[in-house]
């Protein structure tokens, strides 16, 4: 039970510390920290548009976080969220542009999402296979695959797949687009928040159920906590490595639904940059728990967009630092609490 309490106290303490540090930095930049915080709040949760922005950003972060968290249950460090998400986004854009315009929306959205998920999962599964077959460290293989995917997408984009003299693909057909909340429900006006947020939430709860309530999840957790014992219990740890990597990659790919199908409607060079790496932080802050990831992603979404919104007063880089300090604090606090 004590360990459980620490898991709540540590993230709170980490966030508090980094906010204190940022207050100091804001003051050093010649502004009143309280005023800046207040501004930040009114321009984010305080406004409809700001809230929508946070929802939109958090959606991508939740999925990027899951991409790290699920493999992490097996002590695998998936650094490949970037590449997997990029592969997903690019294939969703291609699929959406190539579908015949009269495809019904349900089919079009499903097909594009499925192609994104498949692309993300395939990239991750390649790392999983390298691990299972040759024992290659997944950290190295996922990083290398990031480069490979980036290079491939860059090459294809520079070739025939982009709209001439631009760095983006052709627009996807209208029926493949996921509608924003604003047009259907009338909330979060003008913001990019769209219905793919529901995919992300469903993924969180679905994966929570899978990991903690099902037999495969039980085997998966055992393989992560104590692989040797799992082998004696007749659990095929290798198959769970593949499963976890596959699910992780699929989640990264699913972020394309939010970015491409729900927002941009095409793939543009740099669309996914940095989100995959941010997922590592999101997952760490939530101790790789599929549901706590929602809270963690909202916090990071808030810091990201909040930083942007007060960029006119203080450099937004301060909030980038806050994010980094939070993660470092988590690691430090975890180590010092659990050492004794």
């Amino acid at each position: 039970m004590r360990a459980g309490m620490f898991k709540i106290v540590i993230p709170l303490l980490a966030v508090a510390t980094s906010l204190a540090i940022s207050a100091f930095l804001i003051a050093a930049a010649g502004r009143d920290p309280l005023l800046i915080y207040q501004k930040m709040f009114t321009m984010t949760f305080g406004s409809e548009y700001g809230t929508g922005q946070i929802v939109f950003r958090s959606t991508s972060l939740v999925l990027a976080g899951l991409a790290v968290a699920i493999p992490f249950r097996l002590k695998l460090f998936n650094i490949g969220g970037e590449g997997q998400m990029l592969a997903g986004a690019f294939s969703a854009a291609l699929a959406g542009a190539l579908l015949p315009p009269q495809t019904p929306p349900l089919v079009a959205v499903s097909f594009c999402t499925l192609s994104a998920v498949t692309a993300g999962a395939s990239v991750a599964l390649l790392s999983g296979w390298l691990k299972v077959r040759f024992g290659i460290n997944e950290v190295i293989s996922t990083i290398m695959l990031n480069f490979i995917v980036q290079a491939c997408v860059g090459f294809l984009l520079a070739g025939s797949l982009s709209v001439p003299s631009t760095a983006h693909t052709h627009e996807i057909i209208p029926s493949a687009q996921i509608p924003p909340f604003s047009t259907v429900l009338g909330i979060w006006q003008k913001s990019p928040a769209n219905f793919s947020t529901l995919f992300a939430l469903a993924a969180c709860f679905g994966l929570w159920f899978l990991v903690f309530k099902t037999v495969p999840g039980y085997e998966m957790r055992a393989s992560g906590l104590h692989p040797e014992a799992a082998g004696y219990a007749g659990i095929n740890t290798n198959s769970h490595i593949m499963k976890a990597m596959g699910i992780g990659g699929a989640m990264a790919g699913l972020a394309a639904a939010n970015l491409v199908l729900g927002y941009k409607h095409y793939y543009e060079s740099g669309l996914t940059d940095g989100i995959g790496f941010m997922g590592i932080a999101v997952a760490l802050l939530a101790f790789a728990h599929p549901i706590w990831i929602i809270g963690s992603a909202v916090l990071f979404g808030f810091l990201q967009y909040g930083g942007l919104s007060v960029n006119a007063y203080v450099p937004k880089d301060i909030f980038l630092m806050v994010q980094a300090v939070t993660i470092l604090m988590i690691l430090i606090l975890t180590k010092s609490f659990f050492r004794n």
Binding site: F209, K213, T214, E219, L225, G234
Partner: protein, 514 residues
């Protein structure tokens, strides 16, 4: 002879709220072999670590040769002539025997050339005087466990220690090596050295020591001349109640053959032959004991039977479970056919310490239909099963909270494994590896009773054990393995006869495994 060399009075050591040692007073006579016995966690190691300066007492005092001492580190203890051989050896495998012995006691100035040749000579002399045969120029990595231990003892003698503390020295030795060790100890005693022997093997206490002190829950319960006590007395003192040292052994009624292993050979990925035409069979309702020094193919045999052998090794021969081949199947398939396996290192291989008790009680059995509901578990069924098993095996824990297994005592964790594996539905074959290693005497009795109970229910049992005592008291038949094959098999009749003249029988087994 009767001077006191180490005297301890009112010694206590507290770890947090827990008294590891409480008000211990003890006198050790010069030139005696003094055994300290007790169950796991009784505080034997804590006491000796304080004498050796590895731990500092919370209160109380220690005197060596009448002089009060307070050691802050082993270095000071060594200066007073106290040396300790730990349970886990502290040797550098890449260095030679001489280099290891000199390490920390080089007897030269900084940057002065090492006088290795002189040291070698000295070591050879000491070794010859106490039948500690070991080549001073050999690399430690090439030595057997028994030889490593001799190096550790030589290390102490080279430093002129005359009070030697040995922590569970026989846990890793073969019967023959144990005898050799005891001969060495006797010879050291003749030279006037004092030996403090920590052990939980009562036979050894009786055969080698002059005086024995029994510890229980951090206190010394009794300290007596060994000549005045029996094995049963010691066991009772250790556990605090009467203990049945030898489980009752009603006559077995072996049925049809359950496991047939024939001409099993295995070559590992490095090309070393581990099993060589090994054959035996086990019938329903009998215990087949496998005697042997560790590393003669026992672990490879168990790995093949349980389907977890390295897939890159080459395995020939056949393994049949009730006429169906199981060689090459995975562990889950083998388990589903009614096989249970209790591995030797249970805490590492049979449980997940971070899982709850219930999760551990279904570990490896989690695919059984009665625990399943849809994609998940049938929680009420799992809870019911947990309650039944924990009460049957007297595993006490707080039912309301989902505490992780790691918070249970080692003994209770062992019981969880035993309970889970023996209660497997449709169990036909039980594979047991060192079932009582690291287990207290009180719990050994319970485990042995459960094994015989399982046998009488018609389960075939394979018992791999390094304890001849255990093999003799439980087995129906005994196969002696040596270099990967059964070198000699004792029939049921021979084993039964052997139980009545145990000493000779153990000697006979000992000859067949070395």
């Amino acid at each position: 002879m009767n001077t006191i060399v180490v005297s301890v009075s009112g010694l206590s050591k507290k770890f947090g709220p827990f008294w590891a040692n409480r008000n211990i007073s003890l006198e050790i006579e010069n030139g005696s072999i003094h055994a300290i016995v007790g169950e796991n966690g009784a505080g034997k190691s804590t006491l000796t670590k304080m004498i050796y300066g590895l731990l500092q007492p919370t209160s109380g005092s220690i005197a060596v040769r009448g002089k009060p001492v307070r050691f802050n580190s082993p270095r000071q203890a060594i200066a007073e002539g106290i040396g300790m051989v730990h349970q886990h050896f502290m040797l550098v495998p890449e260095l030679s025997v001489t280099e290891n012995i000199m390490l920390g006691d080089e007897r030269g100035h900084l940057f002065a050339p090492l006088t290795k040749r002189d040291a070698s000579e000295e070591i050879r002399t000491i070794a010859d005087a106490h039948s500690l045969s070991v080549d001073p120029d050999a690399l430690v990595s090439e030595l057997s466990v028994g030889e490593e231990q001799r190096v550790e003892i030589l290390k102490l003698l080279y430093r002129n220690a005359d009070i030697l503390i040995l922590d569970e020295p026989t846990a890793v030795l073969t019967p023959l090596e144990t005898e050799q060790l005891f001969a060495t100890l006797k010879s050291l005693q003749k030279e006037g050295k004092t030996v403090i022997l920590i052990t939980h093997k009562l036979d050894e206490v009786l055969s080698v020591s002059d005086r024995v002190s029994v510890m229980r829950r951090g206190e010394i319960i009794a300290s007596k001349p060994t000549g005045n006590v029996s094995k049963a007395d010691l066991a009772r003192l250790m556990v605090g109640r009467n203990v049945l040292l030898r489980v009752e052994h009603p006559e077995e009624k072996p049925g049809r053959p359950v496991l047939e292993v024939s001409n099993l050979s295995m070559t590992d990925r490095k090309g070393v032959q581990r099993l060589n035409n090994l054959s035996f069979e086990i019938r329903a309702g009998e215990v087949y004991g496998i005697a042997g020094v560790e590393g003669n193919g026992q672990s490879e045999l168990l790995a093949i039977l349980w389907g977890i052998a390295d897939r890159q090794s080459v395995v020939d021969g056949s393994v049949m479970l009730e006429g169906r081949p199981i060689k090459g199947l995975h562990a889950d398939k083998i388990a589903a056919m009614g096989v249970s396996h209790i591995p030797e290192d249970r805490l590492r291989h049979a449980v997940v310490p971070d899982f709850t008790i219930a999760e551990n009680l279904i570990f490896g059995r989690h695919r059984e239909k009665k625990f399943a509901r849809h994609a998940g578990f049938n929680i009420p069924a799992v809870q019911r099963y947990t309650r039944t098993v924990t009460s049957e095996y007297m595993i006490r824990y707080d039912e309301k909270s989902d505490i992780p297994l790691a918070s249970l005592s080692g003994g209770n964790q062992q019981k969880i494994v035993l309970a889970r594996e023996i209660s497997r539905p449709g169990l036909k074959l039980l594979l047991l590896a060192q079932p009582t290693r690291g287990v207290d005497i009180g719990a050994i009795e319970m485990i042995h009773r459960r094994i015989i109970e399982a046998r009488d229910k018609g389960i075939a049992i394979l018992l791999v054990s390094a304890e001849l005592d255990e093999l003799v008291s439980l087995s129906t038949r005994i196969g002696c393995v040596y270099k990967g094959s059964v070198r000699r098999e004792f029939t049921a009749k021979e084993v039964r006869r052997g139980r009545s003249s145990e000493k000779e029988f153990k000697k006979k087994i000992g000859l067949s495994i070395t």
